[in-house]
Symmetry: C2
Subunit: 342 residues, 2 copies
């Protein structure tokens, strides 16, 4: 790699002159500038920030690792964009840039992360789509890369995390449904091994028991892949021997398929099947009104960025001092998608 | 900045040994490795890719510049994720990483781009949300940064571009609507100065004239900000002195608001108001079936990545040789959202 020093030596002029020539200062003659630029090109001098970041060890870039799984992406997209907005509002004030690192679906998540870390592409990372046993957490810890996670894992890296309160969603939903006389309540689960899936299962078992209902494992249904998941789910539910009167879910796109699936059969949401789960801004478009749980995703972005800055400012924070580890509460939005069976 | 040479001098061992120790090779003793790693930590040696990229002048990163305008983001999100999938499928084969560069809403798009370029963060860029007069195009040209645009501009940087055929959408929509007896056809326009907006206006004027209809400027309506744009639009339309029987649009989220707005008034899409425009996978959730134009966004991603690779492989391609500049055709999806008034 060619440095300014190398250029100066090669041209036999001072480092200061080379630097001023490269920066196009007025106190350097046009002739010298041309000579310097010619030599810079010949010797392969690249006057880039990479050099500066190397010396300071900083990139001023925060990476948000996003898995571009085309299957699940209908889920994540609208969701994360609001989180990004919130993060940006904090990071730009600190002169930090947010980039979304798109982990390709044909590359192992850990291998992708190794590449990112090896290249020292970012100062810190936020991981999403956290798995029950997420190897990425230990890896980042070993690498000394500051990071936070959106979601938690059985693997504890001492990192800050924020999680949406899916446990609370399932608990509140079961309480509301049983209060309205529902006794056969289905649970629609994410397909992959996200930690969220396990949280939902645990909460479902616990709260079905608490409500004095018999646990029926068949009511925990893994949703099918693709856009028609909600439509398929409707068919699954209405064909069960013990037909559920309600379904709880975590995927904010799913109710659109459920509404569509019901409409195709001449059935009405909140009458023929009750549904309640996590919703986003899109929920407001459904008729009849969806009953759902909303999270403030902008605020979630703000908080994850702040949690990350805390450990970046003080890397020892994770060792001893408390880091941010919180479940973000939901807001209940009353709609018309739950039938009163009492 | 501490180099391997500095470490070797400090430890009084050969550069080769230091390098092999840092790379954890088996022909170096554990003792030496520990000594080297300790010195590396003390002297602040950072074994990062920034150094390697500096010498090669390559980052192997392709940036997709995305504007995180929270207003418009309902529009862009689901849209771009599919484009990213397509791009990744091409880029990963070449060992290139795709990152989404999230241009913050409080920073001028050009200023943000200057920062990205100054940092030599990427080997090439793709710009989206192209404006009628887009200063970013000239800027990137001057900087010698290879780039392609998703959309075109009056500013021609000789760059490859791909654009969705919005001209064709408006033309086909007006033809279909007039054939079914519609004479008062509204056009819903994006709020900001995107080039797309101008393409739609031009196509509307041309094809309204071609259909032998009187041009009414009031029928070109700029959609209101926020999620309720579609709902608001319904109210605007039904309160016009010359009530339009149909509306054409480019925003794939808008029909959800229109359906909702009509439902609130007890009106039916395709009966009380006809609608046709650009749709995505979400369109399949609407009842009654939406009549819409679909673009293959994955394929769009593949093609923009390929167009970019062409000019990266041969930077002179833009000077003389043809670059990719194409309007991507739509697929018409027949639904029930257009009333037959004949």
């Amino acid at each position: 790699m060619t440095s300014i020093k190398d250029l100066a030596r090669h041209l036999d002029i001072s480092i200061g002159t080379v630097s001023r020539a490269l920066n196009n200062k007025t106190d350097v003659s046009q002739e010298t500038k041309s000579k310097v630029l010619k030599a810079a090109a010949e010797l392969g001098y690249v006057p880039n920030q990479a050099g500066r970041s190397l010396s300071k060890g900083k990139t001023n870039v925060i990476g948000f690792v996003l898995e571009t799984d085309s299957e699940g992406m209908m889920q994540g997209d609208l969701f994360f964009i609001r989180v990004f907005d919130g993060m940006q509002s904090v990071l730009t004030k600190r002169g930090l840039n947010l980039v979304a690192l798109l982990s390709p679906s044909n590359v192992e998540p850990e291998a992708y992360l190794q590449q990112i870390v090896a290249r020292r592409f970012t100062d810190a990372l936020v991981l999403s789509s956290i798995h029950r046993n997420d190897a990425r957490i230990n890896f980042l810890n070993q690498q000394g890369m500051p990071f936070a996670t959106l979601g938690r894992s059985l693997v504890d890296g001492g990192q800050p995390w924020l999680d949406l309160d899916f446990d609370g969603v399932v608990e509140d939903a079961i309480a509301r449904l049983t209060q309205k006389g529902h006794r056969t309540i289905a649970l629609a689960l994410p397909r992959n091994d996200l930690n969220l899936r396990h949280i939902m299962i645990e909460s479902y078992r616990k709260n079905i028991a608490k409500a004095g209902l018999q646990l029926d494992e068949d009511l925990m249904i893994r949703i099918s892949p693709g856009d028609r998941a909600g439509v398929t789910l409707v068919h699954q539910l209405i064909n069960m021997p013990q037909k559920p009167t309600a379904v709880i879910y975590s995927d904010h796109i799913l109710p659109f398929g459920i509404y569509r699936g019901l409409a195709d059969l001449g059935l009405t949401p909140g009458v023929d099947l009750s549904l309640i789960g996590v919703g986003t801004r899109l929920a407001a478009f459904l008729t009849p009104d969806l009953t759902y749980y909303r999270f403030n995703l902008f605020d979630l972005g703000v908080r994850i960025a702040e949690a990350l800055l805390t450990i970046m400012d003080d890397p020892t924070a994770a060792e001893g001092r408390p880091v941010v580890r919180e479940s973000v509460p939901f807001t209940f939005i009353e709609g018309q998608s739950i039938a009163d069976l009492t």
